[in-house]
C-alpha cells in the first residue's frame, strides 16, 4: 500500500513537471481560424447565464459547474487562463448606461505576434453587429442585455462563451453600447435631418420599385452614419439599422420617406414648376396696365381738379402700378421685394419666409384691385365724378381716347382684372409652396425622430487557453483506479494507474460533446494494490507487494476507462534447483474509474481498502 501511495504521489509530481512543446511558443501562420461554426454545447449563444448555472452531461451523467473568467474592459486584461473544451462565463463590469454588450472572439494563435487584427478597409458596416470594427470575427456575437435592470448604473455583464480549443490565444472584442444624453441625441438628429434633407433633394421621383427603395434606405443610412462621429452607432432595431431586414422596416420606412417627405417634396417641385411658369406669365398683364400711357395721362389730368386729386391722394398706393418701372414690375410678378437683393423663393426651406412672398402677392393684388375700384369710381360716366371728368375733357386737359383706354383697362375682365388674375396664380403657387415646405419639414422632423443613436465603446482583450505550469498537470495526466484481469495469472487485481494523454484533456468537458480519439486514448502506467504472489511461489511481485502495469486506456464514458497491456512481475524459474527470478509479463484487460470522479461513484473506493 505504501508503494501505491508513493506511485500516486510520483504521478502527481510527474504531471506537474510536464510541459507540452506546443506551450513553448506561438505557432506562426498567416491566418487565424474563425470560430463561427463552433458548437455551442447546447447553451444558446449569447444567453445570459447566472454564475451558478450548470451544464449537464447526458453521456456521462455528470453535472458540471460552469467556470467563470473575469475581464477588465478598462485594461483589456483577462488575468486567468481560459478553460478549454467547456463553455465558460465571461464576466466584466459594463460602463454606466450600458444597454448592450457584444462579444466576439477570434483564435489569433496563428496570427503574427498573436495579436488582435486591425480594422479592414472596405468592409460594409451592415454585415455585423459592430459597424466600426469589421474584423474577421465571424457572424455570431455573444450579447448581453441588462434585462429588467436600470442601465443607468454600472453593472456586471456576463456571456456564455462556447468551448474553445486548448492551448490557443484568443482575441476578445467587446462592443459596449450605451445610452446618450438627450442633448447629444438632439444635436445628432439635427445633423441627420440635414443629411436627409440633402439626400431627398437628390431624388427625382416618388415612383419607386422595391430595389430602389431598399437602396434608398442603405444610402440614407450611410449618409447618416457619415455624420455619426466616433464612438457612436445607429441604435439597433431602428429603420436605419441595416441588420434589421428590409421587409421588417419596409412599411415604416416608406411611410416616413415617401408619405411624409417625398410626397410633399414632389408636390413642392410641381408647385415650383407652376410658380416659375406663372410668374413669367404675370409680367405681360402687369406691363399692359403699367405701360398704359392713356391711363397715366388720365391720372395726371385728374390731378388738375382739386376734388379729384383729393380722391386720388386718399389711396396713393392704388396708383403704384400705373407707370411702374419694368424692373419693379418683374419683382411684383415674382413676389419679390421692390428693392434690395432678390431672393429665390424656390430654394427657401423656411415656410414662413415663403409665406412672405404670398403676403407681397396679396398686397400687390389688393393694390391693383384698389386701382380698378378707384378708376371705375372716378371714370364712371354715370358716377359722382362724371361732371368733373367731362369738364377736364371739355377744357382739353383730358383726351377722350385716353379716357376710353383707362375705362377699358378698369372694366370688368379688362386689363386690371387680367393683371390681378396673373398675380393670383403665382401667389397661389407660393402659398402651396409654403404649405408643402412646412409639410416636408414636418416629415423630416418625424423621420429624424426615427434615428436613434447610442454610444459605442470598443475594447479588445487577449486571453489564452494555454495553461501555466500549475494547470498543465491536469491537461495531460490523470489518475484512475480499477480492476485488471491478467490472463495467465487468471485472476482480478485492483490497481492504481496514471494516464498520459497526447493532447490536452479537460475532464470537465463531456465526452459526448467534446470527444474524439485524442481525448479518450491514453497510455497507462500503474501498480497493483494487492500482491499477486501465488501460493506456489512461481510468481512474485515486482516491488514489495506490488507489480507494475504498462498499457493503454480508452475512456468509454466521462470517468470510465477500459484498458489493456502487460502486467510486469517476477517469475520464478520452474526448476526447483534454481532460486533466481526473472521479469515476466502477463497480458491484462482492465476496467477503471477516474479517481477525480471516484468520489461520485458510491462504494467504488471500498474496492481499494
Amino acid at each position: 500500500m505504501r508503494l501505491c501511495l508513493l506511485w500516486l504521489l510520483l504521478g502527481t509530481l510527474l504531471s506537474v513537471e510536464l510541459t507540452p512543446l506546443e506551450a513553448q511558443g506561438l505557432a506562426s501562420g498567416p491566418r487565424a481560424r474563425l470560430l463561427r461554426d463552433r458548437p455551442s454545447m447546447g447553451v444558446p449563444t449569447g444567453a445570459t447565464v447566472p454564475p451558478a448555472a450548470a451544464a449537464s452531461d447526458p453521456g456521462g451523467g455528470l453535472t458540471l459547474s460552469i467556470k467563470q473568467v473575469t475581464v477588465d474592459l478598462g485594461s483589456g486584461a483577462i488575468q486567468t487562463t481560459i478553460p478549454f473544451d467547456v463553455p465558460f462565463l465571461l464576466k466584466g463590469v459594463a460602463p454606466k448606461g450600458a444597454t448592450e454588450v457584444w462579444v466576439k472572439y477570434l483564435d489569433v494563435t496563428k496570427l503574427k505576434r498573436g495579436s488582435c487584427p486591425q480594422k479592414q478597409d472596405g468592409a460594409e458596416p451592415e454585415d455585423g453587429p459592430n459597424p466600426l470594427e469589421q474584423l474577421p470575427w465571424g457572424a455570431d456575437s455573444l450579447v448581453w442585455h441588462p434585462f429588467g435592470r436600470d442601465p443607468g448604473q454600472k453593472d456586471s455583464f456576463s456571456v456564455v462563451v462556447p468551448p474553445l480549443d486548448a492551448e490557443r490565444y484568443y482575441c476578445f472584442h467587446f462592443s459596449v453600447q450605451s445610452r446618450l444624453d438627450d442633448t447629444s441625441v438632439t444635436a445628432f438628429r439635427e445633423l441627420a435631418k440635414a443629411e436627409m434633407d440633402r439626400f431627398f433633394n437628390t431624388l427625382p421621383t416618388a415612383n419607386l420599385d422595391a430595389p430602389s427603395a431598399r437602396e434608398m434606405r442603405v444610402v440614407l443610412t450611410r449618409s447618416i452614419r457619415a455624420v455619426l462621429g466616433p464612438g457612436r452607432l445607429v441604435a439597433p432595431g431602428t429603420v436605419f439599422d441595416l441588420r434589421v431586414p428590409w421587409e421588417s422596416v419596409k412599411g415604416e420606412f416608406l411611410r416616413l420617406a415617401v408619405s411624409s417627405v417625398l410626397k410633399a417634396q414632389q408636390q413642392r417641385k410641381t408647385t415650383v414648376d407652376g410658380y416659375l411658369t406663372n410668374q413669367l406669365k404675370a409680367v405681360d398683364p402687369l406691363r399692359l396696365v403699367a405701360r398704359s400711357k392713356g391711363t397715366e395721362r388720365v391720372v395726371a389730368a385728374l390731378r388738375n381738379d382739386e376734388t379729384l386729386r383729393g380722391v386720388l391722394d386718399k389711396d396713393p398706393a392704388a396708383l403704384t402700378l400705373v407707370g411702374l418701372d419694368d424692373g419693379i414690375l418683374l419683382r411684383w410678378a415674382a413676389g419679390q421685394e421692390e428693392s434690395g437683393p432678390p431672393t429665390d423663393v424656390t430654394t427657401l426651406k423656411d415656410s414662413a419666409a415663403i409665406a412672405v412672398f404670398k403676403q407681397r402677392y396679396d398686397s400687390n393684388y389688393a393694390r391693383i384691385g384698389r386701382l380698378k375700384f378707384l378708376l371705375q369710381r372716378l371714370l364712371d360716366p354715370k358716377g359722382a365724378y362724371a361732371k368733373k371728368v367731362s369738364d377736364l375733357v371739355a377744357h382739353g386737359d383730358l383726351v377722350q381716347a385716353d379716357l376710353d383706354e383707362a375705362r377699358s383697362i378698369a372694366a370688368d375682365d379688362g386689363g386690371i382684372d387680367r393683371a390681378k388674375d396673373a398675380l393670383e396664380r403665382p401667389g397661389a403657387n407660393v402659398r402651396l409652396m409654403s404649405i408643402e415646405t412646412a409639410t416636408r419639414n414636418r416629415g423630416l422632423e418625424a423621420f429624424k425622430q426615427a434615428v436613434g443613436i447610442v454610444a459605442l465603446e470598443v475594447a479588445n482583450s487577449h486571453g489564452s487557453t494555454t495553461g501555466d505550469v500549475s494547470t498543465f498537470r491536469g491537461y495531460y495526466v490523470s489518475a484512475d483506479a480499477g480492476l485488471m484481469w491478467a490472463f495467465r495469472f487468471g485472476g482480478f487485481a485492483p490497481y492504481l494507474g496514471t494516464n498520459f494523454y497526447f493532447s490536452p484533456v479537460s475532464r470537465d468537458a463531456p465526452l459526448s460533446q467534446r470527444g474524439g480519439f485524442r481525448r479518450r486514448f491514453s497510455l497507462t502506467v500503474g501498480v497493483t494494490v494487492k500482491s499477486i504472489k501465488d501460493d506456489a511461489v512461481t510468481r512474485d511481485d515486482l516491488f514489495g507487494s506490488q507489480s507494475v502495469l504498462v498499457g493503454a486506456g480508452y475512456r468509454l464514458r466521462q470517468a470510465i476507462r477500459i484498458g489493456a497491456g502487460a502486467l510486469l512481475f517476477k517469475k520464478k524459474d520452474t526448476n526447483p534447483l534454481k532460486t533466481s527470478k526473472s521479469l515476466a509479463a502477463d497480458p491484462y484487460v482492465a476496467l477503471s474509474f477516474d479517481i477525480d470522479a471516484g468520489s461520485l461513484i458510491g462504494g467504488i473506493g471500498k474496492l481499494f481498502q
Binding site: T205, A206, L254, R255, K263, Q266, Q267, E424, A428, E436
Partner: protein, 116 residues
Amino acid sequence: MGILIEKDLEAVPDTLTVPGSTELRHELRSSRASEVAQVEYALDPDHDIYFLEGGQYTKTIPAEAVTVTHAPTPVRRSVTLACQTPPSSIVSVEIVETMSDESGDHEHSMCTVLVR
C-alpha cells in the same frame, strides 16, 4: 380667369394592395365666380401600375369636366390601381393631376400611393 389649387391632391387611403381603389381628393377654386375646368390624372409610363378603368388598364384617366367656383371646391375621383402583370415590384407611385382652365392654362398637382 384661372384655376387655383387650394389644397394639394391626396389619395385616401394612400396605402393599398393592388388591385385596389383609392379616392383622389383636393380642393380647387377659380379666380372668377365659376368656371369649368378639365381634370385628368396620369401615372408614369415606366412602371407596371395602371389605372383600371372600365376593365381596361390605362396610364391616364381622360379629362373630366369639373365646375369650380370662387369658393374652394372639393373635387373627388375614385380610381382603381392595378398591376397588369403581377406581381409588381413597385412600392410607391406618383399620380399626377393636370387641370386646364377655360383659357387653356394648366395647373398641376400630384400625390403618392404606397403599394403593398
